[in-house]
Amino acid sequence: MKILVCISKTPDTTAKIAFTDNNTKFAETGVQFILNPYDEWYALVRAIELKEADPATVLHLINVGGAENDPIIRKALAIGGDEAIRVNSNSHDDFYIASQIAEVARQKNYDLIFTGKETIDYNGSSIGGMVAELLNLPFISLATKFSLEGNTATVEREIEGGEEVDVVNLPAVVSCQKGMAEQRIPNMRGIMSARTKPLKVVEPVQADTFTEIASFELPPAKAGVKLIPADQPEELVRLLHEEAKVI
């Protein structure tokens, strides 16, 4: 079994969001970066569990980004995985990124590709579906549970208005969310061994970009909370009805 987990670097969930260069770039100064939580807690940890259940499993991680991503990739390797591949590009275009991942996957013939359900910065939730289409593989999105028997996966997923249990023969692409696994803190042995695990850097292949970020903007600031005395709940209801006009 060969598994590939796609990982991204994102600002910490508590990071202050601001922009520079005439609102065309995210202001990275002073921002702490983390492994995208969906990639880490759900995709990576579930893949590690599969490897623990079958030690013959080969587990690779892939990231598309610049050298500044290496500490985050090492952190992922400290949690688990045999080696990492970084495609050396800073593109933000989903199709371009998916094309790079698909190219590596094509060469290595993975049985299973995991992604997080989305990144917490660009919230695209597109990479999994795009990689599946590029590789002509089945795609199961928003998985909450995953089990494997031989070459057949049983996956629970969210669909509109409910849940569904799917059965699919590998190879396949799966996007992972809450329920797949529980967060793991890397231990000292993991951190030490991550230093010597291979982190291969490959140059991107030629691919189109479909989109481009023209600018960013922040939402208008809230006017501030209007506090209503606890003994006047009717006043709250009146304001919601007459002022906010939401009920």
Binding site: D166, V168, N169, G179
Partner: protein
């Protein structure tokens, strides 16, 4: 040439998100001087011609039992055929579970740039720029799509449904249905509840409610308002409420017109799931709770005393005794 809108159905009925997508697509078609057309897959009981009131000129249906269950590959194939058939220049999805599954695949198949999580109509005067939600609701990005065909998936509650006069022409489209590679073993639909992702009013409870036995004050208020219910992460992690009610960074992201937070302190991870709500009301006994900074209205007080009184006031307003 057309703007093609994918109209989601559940159990034979077109979903509310799709009325938003239809209204959005119709306005976009008007701006681009073209016609808005819808596509419906599977067997639907609704009167499809009446969807003309959202501005759709034509509805393409593909009736086949194989399309009653969702499959992203099969759906992508059929929508791609419909897009070719109608010479679609823009394809609009709802940014829901199904849209997230199909749109990326279709993007690759049609070589069409995709923007997910759109919150506004595209600027088309100079290029094609779509405003989308990024950083989990904390900012917006204006994204330029450079390809000839464009795909947009629209966030729930981001675009107001607009109804007018009009009857759509309904036509059946003949498309060969490919074999699915994913076998559906079991489907569990949540019925009888207002779906959280598309609810306009949401009442949410947190750890401050102390235990599942106290949820009555939340559900009573929700019932009086006609709202859906949700909860914070500690609540679903403790199994006080089902996990599909969890809103926040790792749960569902929602943007209702009214979000009522009861006994939720407002950690940044929770706010990431709800900060696009139009009006936020916070009830918390701790005046220092960070949620008050993100709120429009607040009451500092004991939820067990305050919330039942709010419920009574809502009933009075609505004339429910």
């Amino acid at each position: 040439m057309s703007v093609l809108i994918f109209l989601d159905q559940a159990d034979g009925h077109i979903k509310k998100n799709s009325f938003e997508a239809a209204s959005y697509g119709a306005k976009l078609a008007e701006n681009l001087n073209t016609s808005a057309e819808g596509i419906v897959l599977g067997n639907v009981n609704d009167d499809l011609a009446s969807l003309g009131k959202y501005g759709l000129k034509k509805i393409h249906t593909v009736k086949n039992d194989a399309l009653n269950n969702f499959d992203d590959e099969v759906f992508t194939h059929v929508i791609a055929e419909a897009a070719k058939n109608t010479d679609a220049k823009v394809i609009v999805f709802s940014n829901n579970f199904n849209g997230k599954s199909i749109a990326p695949r279709l993007s690759v198949r049609l070589k069409a740039g995709l923007v997910t999580g759109a919150v506004n109509l595209p600027e088309t005067a100079n290029g094609f720029i779509v405003k989308k939600s990024v950083f989990s609701g904390k900012a917006f990005a204006n994204v330029s799509i450079k390809t000839e065909i464009k795909i947009i998936s629209l966030n729930a509650n981001a675009y107001k449904i607009s109804e007018g006069e009009g009857v759509a022409e309904v036509a059946e489209l003949n498309v060969e249905i490919p074999q699915s590679r994913v076998k559906i073993k079991e489907v569990n639909k949540v019925t009888g509840e207002i779906p959280l992702a598309e609810a306009e009013l949401v009442v949410s409870g947190g750890r401050g409610l102390k235990g599942p036995e106290n949820w009555g004050i939340v559900t009573d208020l929700a019932k009086a308002l006609g709202a859906a219910t949700s909860c914070s992460r500690p609540v679903s992690d403790s199994d006080w409420r089902p996990h599909h009610e969890h809103v926040g960074q790792t749960g569902l992201t929602i943007a209702p017109n009214l979000y009522f937070a009861i006994g939720i302190s407002g950690a940044i991870q929770h706010l990431a799931g709800v900060n696009r709500s139009k009006t936020i009301v916070v009830i918390n006994k701790d005046s220092e709770a960070p949620f008050f900074k993100a709120a429009d209205y607040g009451i500092v007080g004991d939820a067990f005393e305050v919330v039942p009184k709010i419920t009574e006031a809502v009933k009075k307003l609505k004339g429910i005794s």
